[in-house]
């Protein structure tokens, strides 16, 4: 971890609180949902984190409450470092958008809504992005089944073929 990153984390922790963790040399900051918007503004305008590398979520159902962690990876080209920020969110809660600071967050947030069902307040275009518009459920939640279809072998081939749709010419 570079000195600059250490100082940044220290300064951010003073201002926004939260816990600091580390694994394999990558630091992470765990924050409350309401501070993500001022944090992203501070990172972009004061600390020189020009772009957002990634924005994703993890579902910890049924072990943890709140069940979702939203994970931000802020990157800096000038200081050559990356900072991970985690924000726990409960099911049904919303999160403020950071797509005004980091434009690339727009589609990432849409994807999280599509895949996990976490909504973002103030997002300009909160629609599904990958799945069809009328799809039910959010596929990457842990309580959503994989949708496995039985594999055909010679002993059950005919039975499965009966259930499959057969299109006409």
């Amino acid at each position: 971890m570079s000195d600059y990153l250490k100082e940044t984390i220290h300064a951010l922790q003073q201002r926004f609180g939260g816990d600091v963790g580390e694994y394999a040399g990558d630091p992470r900051l765990i924050l409350k949902a309401e501070s993500i918007q001022p944090l992203s503004a501070a990172l972009r305008n004061e600390f020189g984190f020009e772009y957002l590398s990634a924005l994703t979520a993890v579902d910890y159902w049924p072990e943890l409450t709140p069940r979702f962690h939203i994970i931000y990876q802020f990157s800096s080209l000038v200081h050559n470092c990356r900072l991970e920020v985690r924000v726990p969110v409960a099911d049904g809660d919303t999160l403020p958008t950071i797509s005004e600071e980091y434009w690339s967050a727009n589609w990432h947030e849409r994807e999280i809504f599509d895949m996990f069902g976490v909504r973002f307040d103030g997002h300009p275009d909160m629609r599904r992005i990958l799945m069809p518009h009328d799809w039910e459920g959010h596929p990457l939640r842990k309580d959503y089944p994989l949708g496995y279809e039985e594999v055909q072998f010679s002993f059950n081939k005919d039975e499965i073929m009966k259930r499959k749709p057969h299109p006409e010419d």
């Binding site: 772009y51 080209l77 990356r82 980091y102 434009w103 589609w107 300009p124 599904r128 992005i129 069809p132």
Partner: protein
Amino acid sequence: MAQIQEVTVDEIKHLVSERALEGETMLLNMGPQHPSTHGVLRLLLELDGEEIINCIPDIGFLHTGIEKNMEAKTYIKAAVMTDRLDYLNTMGNNLVYCMAIEKLVGLDVPERAQAIRVIMTELQRIASHLVWLGTHALDLAAMSVFLYAFREREMILDIMEMISGQRMMTTYFRPGGLWRDVPQEWEAHVREFVKIFPERVAQYERLLTHNPLFKDRTVGIGVISAEDALRWGLTGPTLRGSGPALDLRKLRPYCGYEQYDFDVPTHTDGDVYARYLVRIQEFHESLKIIRQALDNLPSGPVSSNNRKFVPPPRSELGVSMEALIHHFKLWTEGFLAPKESVYMPVESPRGELGVFLEGDGGPKPYRVYWRTPSFVNLQALPYVSKGHYVADLVAIIGSFDIVLGDTDR
């Protein structure tokens, strides 16, 4: 079966101008079946005559559920899915996935494996850029470049087939090293390719670089400034065409890239032509890296000796009980990874390709997230294409070098 959903104007009225609601401008559908969208990308265009007022991308037509499906497989078995994400950069996808696992469990990779990984990913970068060059030129009505580019790409595919048995979906990199060592004739083939390729690049350049028709279609089209490009999260050659020298191989070297001497080509114009020039120069930089890696290719093992994560070689199975147990355990249950998460970015031909990998102490990944460069780069398309003609949109899409498998995952 589901019906096609017609998008009503009501649904997207926050994305189009007021003139569209009054019927003054035209809404036109481009894709998902269109020769120039490089796959199944759908663009909803709001047009005033030929001019693009708004461009609304609709993706997900190739959504494969790879992230969810990888959660249902062990770490090694999930590796076959990584090839099929960005199918022009299969080796690179294997690389980043294996490196994420190595980072998660703390596994070392021998030097020979590192060097072969570098050579193969750089060859893959050239192959990917060749497909880009061929299709981009084809979109701009230069058919012959496509035929030449695929001629050279076949040479790289032959090398890949030689080492792995497959032309595209190799899964050659495994956690802890490589699947097996390269065959003897491999080095001669790579050297042959490295020898003839500069002349071939010169051929492409003779066809395109100073071609007035090509320049008319590309110079000054799709300009994006460095600051905006970073704000849109653009990476790779698409960003380097605007100025910032963001190349993870240089900034945060992995896989021993710090040993090699190479440049990061950049241009400041930020238009389609600048992005073209950056990629053409990257051919030469990749060749430089391959040459250096080949000259200093270390000997030794190609995969880690840590039997908790890497299966023992086939020859040991007959003589060692322990090897047999490890083999059985690794291929049935798989190895266990700690309850932690890592994020591993590398430089793919399209930009920053990152894997967020989280383990839960078991043999299967708890969450795999792919930060794919095409997904992020494509976001900037509406911003860049605004005010251009429809014909220029084709050039802009080509210059972003998107792969829809990478976008939709």
